[in-house]
């Protein structure tokens, strides 16, 4: 790949071991993808920061860079971890080991020393600093739901930079020019429509099932084009997360949402998804019994969603089911006082910094109801029985 003189210098170690190593990772991966050059990024979001996920090897590697005195060269935010940093015992049915906390704290210290903003959230797109990023800017993000949301909703450009790659990109402030950074690779060629009766609303569970179906059948290098109205922010977010979890796609052009210009007439392939197929899957995934726990917050809930849950719960007198909500500190700090009081009075666990998927949460046979396909997808792998309902059907579940 073509490198500028400055990039060559970094690669050859003139600025020290750490920068050279990070540059070598980016250049080697770029070369393997036949990328022609590097481009600057304005922001990095690092996934793979949970001790439960990357363990001692990950901790050691990040520490090595941090000890070297390396600083991130762009604004850098980080994914959630396995527990609430202000309340270690916040997650029901879960005990966090002391060594786990010690390991995690070391990772966070290293990242902070390198200049990361410890946002501990999988929804960086709710942060003002990310919202300010201009449409069309390139970033390097590692969290799949954020990658899909960033490309499809914010119109910023990123591939799925898994493992240590977003970390290395944050160090050098660059990424290989490849995939979705290239404008023409963002123009869809296949349109997806839903054949449905009138008044059929696409809530977040249905949208996520559509996401699962598209992930399975989309066989084209360009992003799919979803020609359907998604009714609200929750739906868009959960759809993005399902696309990220169910397959390898990093972008979907969503009608009326994705800021992109293309000629619709040039799309000559349309695939129709029948609402009966969505219904079949919806029925498979819906709860039959009273759950042990109801969970919202995968990806992290917004202030608006939390207040909506509180509004529903206000009407419920004798709440017997434990409700758990995960969110970011940033969104939690904005919640309306009345809503907070309702949640408190209903013994709702509002947990910050946490991703239940990477935490030691849960046990085989636990019954969880959630509105998140992504949580279903990953928590099921741990032997947890997960079923799906829309946030708007919360009252229905409470009657089970």
């Amino acid at each position: 790949m073509y490198l500028t003189k400055e990039e060559e210098k970094i690669l050859n170690g003139e600025y020290g071991w750490g920068l050279a190593k990070a540059m070598q990772v980016i250049v080697s991966v770029g070369d393997s993808l036949n990328s022609e050059k590097l481009i600057g990024i304005t922001h990095a979001h690092i996934s793979g920061v949970s001790y439960g996920n990357i363990g001692e090897p990950g901790k050691k590697l990040i520490k090595q860079f941090s000890d070297e005195g390396i600083k991130f060269s762009v604004k850098t935010t980080v994914n959630p971890i396995g527990y609430d940093t202000l309340d270690y015992d916040a997650i029901p049915f879960t005990k966090i080991d002391r060594n786990y906390i010690k390991g995690q704290e070391e990772i966070l210290r290293s990242l902070q020393k390198m200049g990361a903003d410890l946002t501990l959230s999988c929804t960086p797109y709710y942060l003002p600093m990310v919202n300010e990023i201009k449409i069309g800017s390139s970033v390097a993000w590692g969290e799949s739901n954020a990658v899909v949301y960033g490309n499809s909703v914010l119109g910023i450009k990123t591939n799925r930079e898994g493992g240590p790659i977003s970390l290395m990109a944050a160090i050098v402030g660059k990424i290989y020019y490849y995939g979705l950074h290239i404008e023409e690779n963002r123009i869809p060629e296949i349109k997806y429509k839903v054949n449905k009766p009138e008044n059929y609303e696409i809530n977040e569970v249905r949208a996520s099932i559509i996401g699962e179906i598209i992930s399975k059948i989309h066989n084209n290098d360009k992003p799919p084009y979803l020609y359907e109205k998604l009714r609200n922010e929750t739906t868009v977010k959960e759809f993005s997360a399902s696309i990220g979890a169910a397959g390898n796609l990093a972008m979907v052009v969503i009608k009326g949402i994705t800021p992109i210009k293309f000629n619709e007439k040039e799309i000559n392939e349309t695939i129709t998804i029948d609402f009966n197929d969505i219904k079949k899957r919806e029925d498979e995934l819906k709860p039959n019994d009273k759950p042990d726990l109801i969970y919202f917050g995968c990806p992290h809930t917004s202030k608006y969603e939390i207040e909506k849950i509180a509004k529903y719960l206000k009407k419920v007198d004798n709440l017997k089911t434990q409700i758990v909500i995960t969110s970011s500190r940033n969104e939690m700090s904005k919640i309306d006082k009345d809503a907070l009081n309702i949640l408190k009075s209903k013994n709702v666990k509002l947990i910050g910094d946490t991703c239940l998927i990477v935490s030691p949460f849960g046990y085989h046979g636990l019954n969880v109801v959630t509105n998140s396909y992504k949580a279903y997808f990953y928590l099921s792998k741990k032997g947890i029985n997960v079923s799906l309902i829309s946030l708007d059907d919360l009252e229905e579940v409470l009657r089970l």
Binding site: V29, S32, I54, G163, P164
Partner: protein, 125 residues
């Protein structure tokens, strides 16, 4: 003697015994604390010959840990690689060659002596 040419993603020269694996995911398949594979073989000082990768984003850290813990393979030769393995090999400085036709790679059997010399893989037989 037979020679294969691939693409040197991490350059290096070494000689060792081949450890043939059909599909490799470092996360889950390899123990970073002793180098053992799930099937009981060990990767330490071997040249891993793998036809294709199986993705896991933690894989890079496992490759790095193998090196740090003293159980790293001498090199990795693959039909096809992917970013997670490449990142791991760069960080651990383990020579990595990819883009070798899988049918050609199949001529290398478990235990064969091979040499890796940047983009070249030489089967000594």
């Amino acid at each position: 003697m037979k020679e294969f040419t691939g693409r040197a993603l991490v350059k290096g020269e070494t000689e060792g015994e081949a450890l043939v694996i059909n599909e490799i995911s470092f996360y889950g398949d390899v123990n970073p604390y002793n180098g053992n594979l799930v099937d009981g073989r060990n990767v330490k000082d071997k040249i891993i010959v793998a036809y294709k990768p199986r993705g896991s984003t933690v894989g890079s850290y496992i490759i790095y840990a193998l090196k740090e813990n003293g159980f790293s393979p001498k090199a990795i030769v693959m039909g096809k690689s992917e970013p997670i393995i490449i990142a791991g090999c760069v960080l651990a400085n383990i020579p990595l060659v990819d883009n070798i036709d899988v049918n050609a790679l199949r001529e290398i059997k478990d235990g064969d002596r091979i040499i890796v010399k940047n983009e070249k893989v030489i089967l000594l037989k």
